[in-house]
């Protein structure tokens, strides 16, 4: 059976192809359109899936959509009408989008893919997340926890899943409805701290590390715990229905003070003290701290309630909130489950994978797949084609268009060398990293999900804070309070992390934060947050042989097989997809070298 999974309409449109139980490919539309979190119909992602599978639309047996547009419409309608007569603008805006486009998503899907309407299937939004979490977990049975902003009506949901006679069974236990949403509350605090909601929640999480417990009790009252392990949100602090008024009410401002001013620079640094902290900045950090702590408590309580209902060893966890690696760490550390699985892309963008796997298995595939899939399922490119072009690029032209703030008087030529021996390539790259170069690393198929995991990465040595500051300033435009993450080989992980590798289980793709051992912190200082934690990618030869070899080669030079691994993207753009995008970023920014497959490109001089 050939199943195309599709998600689109709110954010992170994407498509996935499953053939006879096997995930062939999955990719986010943003990687093709260069628009972060692109919500448009995933035309290019679908074309990519069909091309990768060698299929035409006529060959596809099922197209699966990740939500029920009619159920979602009923929620949107109720939300727009409930504040009557104060919600005319919201009603008009919502209805234009829904009556004009979104309500007909399923018909659009059939028409634009060219697949017959009788082949189109759809699932409720949280059910999609549930099967996304369970399919590909590798578990025979599991409890399933879904926490996100909002789907159709639900915001948080509990399920249990099992395999029975070779078919997956996923059953609902409980759903908490809109507007009681941990995800929306966290996004409101994100906007309050001056970051883009639905995009920069990671900044709120990073800022929380600098906060103090000033507001925790207040936020506990706002997101009130209920005896059954769930929670209720005090709506008097938010405008979830009247979105034109902004996400928070005056009562919220009275409690926490005014939101962050435009242009207000936060004076925190993940590398340690960065100067005097003004009262406004500290107040914002305290608010971030409070929502982070309360989010962790509520997720933990939900997990405990779920465990009482489903006393399994296993937990599958998805939804946008499961991207919060600090909360995930607490769930792993203090939660009642022995094994926790979070898919590579647990947000809306990854639902296309789970739903395609589920429909394939549920509707009669002869070979349903219960095994775990990895993140390297994106698009692949002909790298060799791009290299000869570099001989014709004139450095004086490049120097005219460097990233803003980068000194353009440096005279350089662009050189490249293609290695036929894998070991020579790895040796050359590890040498450059050890010398303190900023290296772009572009290999094979792109990653599924928001994290670069050694296929579209920028790498530097982890002990050089000045180098990390240069990376933030000259390449990434990254705020100083946001920490970098560490990639490490499986052998290096027990030396570095103070959490046993078996406790992390399959969470090796930066899904959880972990503290680095006190005695090792100086050796990886540039990859740590201010509290000594990092988001580890633990890479073995079975995960990615070439990246693992690079880590090991660097380990032989430095004594520790670990590198800073950050995503290969300019600020405000998604992770690069094609070699040309990688070359453009390499040329414009302060990167020193770029590795495209077997070719090393560098700025000489």
């Amino acid at each position: 059976m050939k199943v195309l999974g599709v998600s689109y309409g709110y954010h992170d449109s994407s498509a996935a192809l499953v053939v006879d139980g096997r995930l062939v490919t999955a990719a986010a539309e943003e990687r093709f359109t260069r628009q972060k979190h692109d919500a448009q119909f995933p035309q290019f992602a679908i074309e990519h899936c069909l091309k990768e599978g060698g299929l035409t639309a006529a060959d596809v047996d099922r197209v699966v959509f990740h939500e029920d547009p009619h159920a979602k419409f009923s929620r949107v309608l109720a939300t727009a009408l409930a504040p009557f007569p104060a919600s005319r603008l919201e009603f008009v805006q919502s209805m234009k989008a829904w009556l004009g486009r979104k309500l007909w998503s399923l018909d659009t899907l059939a028409a634009r893919t060219g697949v017959a309407p009788e082949k189109v299937r759809y699932l409720g939004h949280h059910f999609s997340h549930a099967v996304q979490a369970f399919m590909g977990s590798g578990f025979d049975e599991s409890a399933i926890l879904i926490v996100d902003a909002v789907g159709d009506w639900a915001c948080t949901a509990l399920y249990k899943g099992r395999w029975e006679n070779g078919r997956p069974i996923v059953e609902r236990l409980f759903e908490l409805g809109f507007p009681n949403s941990l995800g929306l509350v966290y996004s409101a605090f994100t906007a309050y701290c001056g970051f883009s909601p639905n995009d920069s929640e990671c900044s709120t999480m990073a800022l929380a590390a600098f906060g103090r417990p000033t507001y925790v009790d207040e936020v506990r009252k706002i997101v009130r715990a209920v005896d059954d392990g769930t929670y209720l949100v005090d709506q008097s602090h938010f405008h979830f229905a009247n979105f034109y008024k902004g996400p928070w009410t005056q009562k919220f401002v009275d409690l926490f003070g005014p939101p962050r001013r435009p242009g207000h620079k936060l004076p925190f640094s993940s590398f340690g003290p960065a100067g005097e902290i003004d009262a406004d900045s500290q107040r914002l950090a305290d608010a971030a701290y409070a929502i982070q702590v309360v989010l962790e408590e509520r997720v933990l309580a939900l997990a405990q309630r779920l465990h009482r209902e489903v006393p399994s060893k296993n937990l599958c966890y998805a939804g946008g909130v499961s991207l919060n690696c600090v909360a995930n760490a607490r769930l792993v550390r203090e939660g009642p489950f022995q094994n926790v699985h979070i898919p590579p892309d647990p947000g809306d963008g990854g639902t296309c994978v789970g739903t395609a796997l589920y429909v394939d298995a549920a509707e009669g595939s002869a070979t349903p797949d219960a095994t775990r899939y990895g993140p390297y399922v994106g698009s692949r490119h002909d790298i060799a084609r791009e290299v000869p072009m570099l001989d014709h690029v004139k450095p004086e032209h490049v120097r005219r268009y460097l990233k803003r703030g980068l000194a353009n008087e440096r005279d350089f030529t662009i050189r490249h060398n293609t290695f036929t021996e894998e070991s020579s390539l790895i040796d050359e790259v590890s040498k450059r990293i050890a010398e303190g170069q900023i290296v772009g690393w572009f290999q094979g198929r792109g990653e599924l999900g928001p994290r670069a995991l050694g296929h579209r990465s920028i790498l530097i040595r982890p002990d050089d804070v000045a180098l990390a500051r240069r990376l933030s300033r000259d390449v990434k435009d990254r705020a100083a309070f946001r920490p970098y993450a560490l990639a490490m080989s499986t052998d290096a992980a027990p030396r570095l992390l103070d959490v046993p590798l078996e406790k992390l289980g399959g969470l090796r793709w930066m899904q959880v934060a972990a503290h680095v051992r006190e005695e090792m912190r100086d050796r990886v200082r540039a990859g740590l947050h201010v509290d000594g934690s990092t988001r580890p990618q633990v890479c073995g030869p079975e995960d990615d042989p070439r990246f693992h070899a690079l880590l090991e080669a660097y380990g032989r030079r430095s004594g520790l097989a670990s590198l800073i691994n950050t995503s290969f993207n300019p600020s405000g753009y998604p992770i690069v997809q094609s070699p040309v995008e990688a070359i453009v970023m390499f040329l414009r920014t302060g990167m020193d070298a770029l590795v495209l497959g077997e070719t090393v490109v560098w700025k000489h001089g």
Partner: protein, 232 residues
């Protein structure tokens, strides 16, 4: 000439009467940044269809330049905005089918450059001194070079003068038609706003109470957890 006069008047009118607050200017600047980024996207799609490495290198440099402009506008946005820059949401589509000759893409790029350059020039003229005027002046200087470059690319990629002239006319007509359609959609949008506002005041009193009660119930009571089919 007439077209230039109308465009210049339109831009002056917009600056004088519509760009009256910083958020409005910020939104326009966000649009400029997105337009430049859109140009990079089209250039890269066009590049993928070229086989000559020298030509591809020229287009790569062109991409660097457009990306530089997108960045300059994004930074300028910060001078006017009261909220963080959110990603653009253009509907991307290829300008030509895959089997069309590669030079046709650059016909579209060429006309786009021409139109953007004149709009930016008129804006720079109409604006008072400030960060946006400075950025626009820089961008116009670069873009004027692009117009020649893309015109030359059309010929280098194998199009005859006659083909170029014919295609440029066609592209201008297509873009004029799209602009006309955009205006039409705006009119429809105003009509829709009026109709939906009427519907709101008709429907609201009848169902607001039910909607409120529904939102007050914390539980989702119906089970929407099954695979459903579009057709019965």
């Amino acid at each position: 000439m007439l077209r230039d006069f109308l465009e210049r008047t339109r831009v002056r009118f917009a600056v004088r009467f519509r760009w009256t607050s910083r958020p409005v200017v910020a939104e326009a600047v966000r649009g400029f940044s997105a337009t430049e980024a859109d140009g990079v996207w089209h250039l890269q799609r066009g590049m993928a269809r070229l086989t000559d490495d020298r030509q591809r290198a020229i287009m790569l440099t062109h991409c660097l330049e457009e990306e530089c402009h997108a960045e300059a506008f994004a930074l300028t946005y910060g001078e006017y905005a009261d909220r963080p820059l959110t990603p653009a949401a253009y509907e991307r589509r290829d300008l030509y089918p895959p089997d069309a000759p590669p030079w046709k893409t650059f016909a579209f790029v060429h006309v786009g450059e021409e139109e953007a350059t004149s709009r930016f020039r008129y804006l720079a003229e109409a604006l008072d001194d400030g960060p946006l005027k400075r950025v626009l002046s820089d961008v116009v200087r670069d873009e004027e070079g692009h117009i020649d470059l893309t015109r030359r690319m059309l010929v280098r990629l194998g199009a005859s003068d006659e083909q170029v002239t014919r295609e440029l006319v066609r592209v201008r007509l297509v873009r004029a038609w799209e602009a006309w359609m955009r205006n039409g959609r705006q009119i429809i949008d105003h009509v829709a706003t009026a109709m939906l506002s009427g519907l709101y005041f008709l429907l609201g009193p009848l169902v607001a109470r039910t909607a409120r009660r529904r939102l007050e119930d914390p539980l989702v009571r119906y089970d929407n957890n099954a695979v459903k089919s579009l057709t019965p």
